[in-house]
Amino acid sequence: MTTVSTSPRAASALSPRRSLADLLDDRRVLSFLFMLPALGILVVFLAYPLGLGVWLGFTDTRIGRPGVFVGLDNYDSLLGDSVFLLSVFNTIFYTTIATVLKFGLGLWLALLLNNSMPCKAFIRAIILLPYIIPTVLSAIAFWWIFDAQFSIISWALMKLGLIDRFIDFLGEPWNARWSVIAANVWRGIPFVAICLLAGLQTISPSLYEAAALDGATSWQRFRHVTVPMLMPILSIVLTFSVLFTFTDFQLIYAVTRGGPVNATHLMATLAFQRAIPGGRLGEGAAIAVAMIPFLVFATLFSYYGLQRRRWQQGSEDD
């Protein structure tokens, strides 16, 4: 019988180093370590503010005064608040219409840009301009464009003899809603168009050739080749677009401040108005938190709903 003995000293010197090396050899541990900085950033700048916002929504915190837990009081109170309910309607209407228009026009623009044309790179760069300009600057430009007295649109239509008085773009509730949607669509189209253009360029021309050989019409090629192949990127872009539109603040704040008579107040602008100028941080946070279910629903719908593989592969849904 042979006995192998190791000195205790040598064992203690080797085992930690060895165990650390073993640990670092473990891909799961290493991945976790590499993710730590990103995780830290997410916790500090995303999870903590979100958690704080959710907590504030359950308190009656005011500016300069810590609040106490009030349960669902803020939400209960908001359900009886006509301005809040109007802002929910406005937000859903604004997001739905603006998103549909941005995707319709963005896809159309992407298809046009996907064709061969002179100065293609230059035109693509120009298309991005609305997205590059800071929102607040374009919002101020739209404020002038829609001005009740100085609107260039009204002026041009007057000069052409098509109208006999300036259009009240921002003074009539429905006009104001459509006007801010138009501004949002103008700004959002480039983002959608460029993303979809990137998607279009990944589709292999051989698929179109095969479809053409099979005698598919343009519409059939679009319906059965382009759309399914675009769906993965479309669902991602749609998710982001819905999130950006639903939480829009700058455009409304610069153009209408939520007027006339709160007809363009979105949940984000109302949350700000109540929390900061109004001093009711708890209620403002509750309004902001009330946006989360809508956002989660929209995200799940666009992410999972549009990524159904059978549909992408040209089959009918279950």
Binding site: G64, D147, A148, R165, G171, R274, G279, L281
Partner: protein, 441 residues
Amino acid sequence: MNDFNRRDALKVGAGAVAGAAIVANTGEALAQAGADLKLTPEKGAKLRVLRPSKFVQGDETLWMENTKKYQQQTGVEVRVDNESWEDLRPKSAVAANVGRGPDIVYAWYDDAHQYPDKLLPLNDVYSYLDKKYEGWYDVAKKFSTRGRNQISVVLGSPGSKMVYRKSHLAAAGFNAFPNDFPGLLECCKALKAKGTPSGFALGNAVGDANGWCHWLVWSHGGRMVDDKDKVVIDSPETVKALEYVKQLYDTFIPGTLSWLDINNNKAFVDGQISLTNNGISVYYAAKTSNDPKLKEMALDIEHANYPIGPVGRPTEVNLTVPAMVFKYTKFPNAAKDYIRFMMEKEQYEPWQTASIGYFSHPLKAYEKSSIWTVDPKHTPYRDTMKNMLWPSYAGSLGYASAGVLADFIMVNMVASVCSGSKSPKEAAAEAQKRAERYYKV
């Protein structure tokens, strides 16, 4: 209250402390104590001041010059941030909440009453200025006082008056501005008939819309709350005011429902409207312009007090700028001394003059300033703070009043009637419901 102020004032400054025993015993000496305030800025003091950005150039130019003078006289380093009007309130609110930021904020309306516990009492400065400059107007006292303390010192008010084109009114058959409501309605109808209509902001405009909508309702006897903070806006008086405004709105230029604070200025200067409510800034812009057309317009611009309504007395509200010092400041004496310095006649009058009275004073002594008589067109703005009420009239200033004002409940009520979306009774009932959310116990 006075005893407290004086006693508090004596805590500041070595000279005042030395005389405290005597001062406390005689009324005359007490009065003297206020006028002898001596605040010694801390060694190496540095101040950061946040204030509203200029609406007229003279305001900012003289403010910065006065600040420079203060720095030269005291050695205190002062950094002034001129913040856009809309961003001032959020920034001061954030400072209050996080306990860091500017030492002094020249804020809006009742901001000080939203976070009174975060503010340094300014009883000594308040009391000193009260004695030296013939006392504060009642509304300035209201804005400054919270319980036994003065939590702010009012700098002044960018007052709003009726601004009109004299020749346009004359053409419409009015040689003087009407001073009652029936007269105002007739005047506006006549102006519209002549193609030179009036226009008053009805969008979510902090200054102009709040100004004339509150005046309209108060002048008929309506008010958001009574003196016990009970919401009473849904009243026959409010309904009468709203019935009146529906007729008045029909005479406005189209588009006023979307107007923010700047729109009426633009429309007036462009000659599209001949009557609105505004500060003296329109006149200032026209008078100081290099454009001959605007210079000519300046000669035609006149100002008048708001007409008196059925209640029989002035019922105006105007933007008010209270100076606040946050408790977190490391240099409380310097901060208070800076506020005092800017309110002293040597600085205040030149500053007022440079902005041709854009800011009306809260201290009675400044009624005599030559700026109010050098041009008769300035004179209506002189009594802005003398006549005005506070935005939560007749109730108290605080969380609820700030919330109601920020939520534009009064403006929205008037605007919803003007837009035709609600009847006067429905609008008053809705405003009652909305305001009760803020005033609930």
